[in-house]
């Protein structure tokens, strides 16, 4: 019996394609080597600094808990900054995501500027926003809250808009045919299906904001980060260890709570 054979010819890379691949690989390797040089990566310096690190680590034990109450208050400030910053971000993101979602806002005159604004907010880190806002509103956690809110608004709105765009248009078409206006259609046909995913994104950003707010103190925006910077500056490594332990507990607890809530929502 004859073997049935198809006339199908699988695609083989031409010499030109193969050469192009090699050139792309070489370019990526060169880029990476340049990055290593510019970043001044030097294993010898790390090796030389290890004994100093070990000395500091030894000096950090036992941890200094003499100002535990103050540190706990600062930790509370960090959680508050992350929570309030995220909630302000959510409020800003709600209208922005609707304007940016192509399936909701079909006018390019509205959606393109909205997307550009989201990219600006997302592209500038909360740390940089806080640094600028400390100059405007003074030292303290409020600058941190505003910095977190602006960056979170951009990130949340972008992720929300993408989430809304992936929703099947069928239910929206069906409810539109009932004669309902745009807002009613969004509330009734879009929101119920997309809400768990929106809430999950907001929770993820809350978790992220609290992690970010632990370092905002470095630029004078209050919180546990401020205490960390002061202790490092004064070489109080036993106090640094206490602060790091508190940060770890906070971040782990918030991560677990957020992950649990997101599992419940989806």
């Amino acid at each position: 019996m004859n073997d049935p054979r198809s006339v199908y010819q699988p695609h083989r890379r031409s010499r030109g394609e193969q050469a192009g691949f090699v050139v792309a690989l070489a370019a990526a390797a060169v880029f990476y080597i340049v990055c290593l040089r510019i970043a001044e990566v030097d294993p010898a310096r790390l090796w030389a600094g290890l004994p100093r690190l070990a000395k500091w680590a030894a000096r950090s034990w036992p941890p200094d808990a003499s100002e535990f109450g103050t540190l706990l208050y600062r930790a509370g400030q960090t959680i508050a900054m992350g929570t309030v910053g995220t909630s302000f971000g959510v409020l800003l993101a709600a209208p922005l995501c609707l304007l940016a979602a192509r399936t909701v806002t079909t006018s390019a005159w509205l959606s393109l500027p909205s997307r550009a604004l989201l990219n600006v907010l997302r592209g500038i880190d909360s740390f940089i926003f806080a640094l600028l806002l400390v100059a405007a509103v003074g030292l303290g956690p409020f600058a941190g809250v505003l910095g977190l809110a602006l960056h979170a608004a951009g990130s949340i709105a972008k992720l929300w808009a993408e989430s809304i765009e992936t929703i099947a248009p069928g239910p929206v078409d069906a409810v539109t045919m009932s004669g309902a206006g745009r807002l009613k259609v969004i509330r009734f046909a879009l929101l119920p299906d997309v809400l768990p995913s929106l809430a999950s994104i907001a929770l993820y950003m809350w978790e992220w904001s609290i992690r970010a707010s632990t370092v905002l103190g470095v630029v004078g925006a209050g919180g546990i980060g401020q205490e960390l910077k002061n202790s490092v500056d004064l070489l109080q490594f036993d106090r640094v260890l206490t602060i790091l332990a508190i940060v770890l507990v906070i971040v782990t607890a918030i991560d677990s709570a957020s992950a649990w809530l997101r599992r419940r929502l989806l």
């Binding site: 078409d173 069906a174 045919m177 009613k184 509330r187 046909a189 119920p192 299906d193």
Partner: protein, 238 residues
Amino acid sequence: MPVLVASDLTKAFGGRRVLDGVAVSVAAGTFVAVLGESGAGKSTLFRCLSRLIEPESGEISIDGALYTGLQGARLAAARRQVGVVFQQFNLVRRLSALDNVLAGRLADVPLWRVMLHQFDLAHVQQAAAALEAVGLGAQIEQRADTLSGGQQQRVAIARALAQQSRILLADEPVASLDPVTAAAILGLMKSLARSRGMAVVCALHQPQLAAQFADRIVVLKNGRLEEVSPSCPTPSVV
């Protein structure tokens, strides 16, 4: 007088003319089946008739009033006369059967009530009655995505009932259902056409189902509708 009249509808995609002068007229209480091959343009026709997409030319009127050309609030008001049932049901998955049917009443409910999801008892009872009319009285509070395909399609029909529309456009409503459920759904649509005087236009793939349930059969071919005898739909054209 016909409830739905469409004349000279045209629609093209990428240079291909999918609808080329389609004309159809449907009287109250009549079940019209639209047959056609896959890709013949049945879904395009239904989306044009409902104005989910715009025809390039031609006119559609409902009860003698022009439907094409309306915009904004006037279009929304006219849409209340057009109930639509889709092949993929298009229910809001995370809402209950009752909530999905209440969607048919949204135009009558103030915005703040919709935002707070607070409906009048009268609207709730109307929606429940619509579900009972399609045989889903026991599934009123069940979430849409836990219902079977046939049940979901019944919810979609109940949504059109709650809307109290004059026209029911059904785009291949039984394409994804088993034969027994398909016959039950089409029987239900036919009885609604009779009892409520709705003008039903239903796209189908199977000529035998069209012959069994439709009062009139039209075939969409080469962008135009041709009327065929309900007792003998020509299988060669579908």
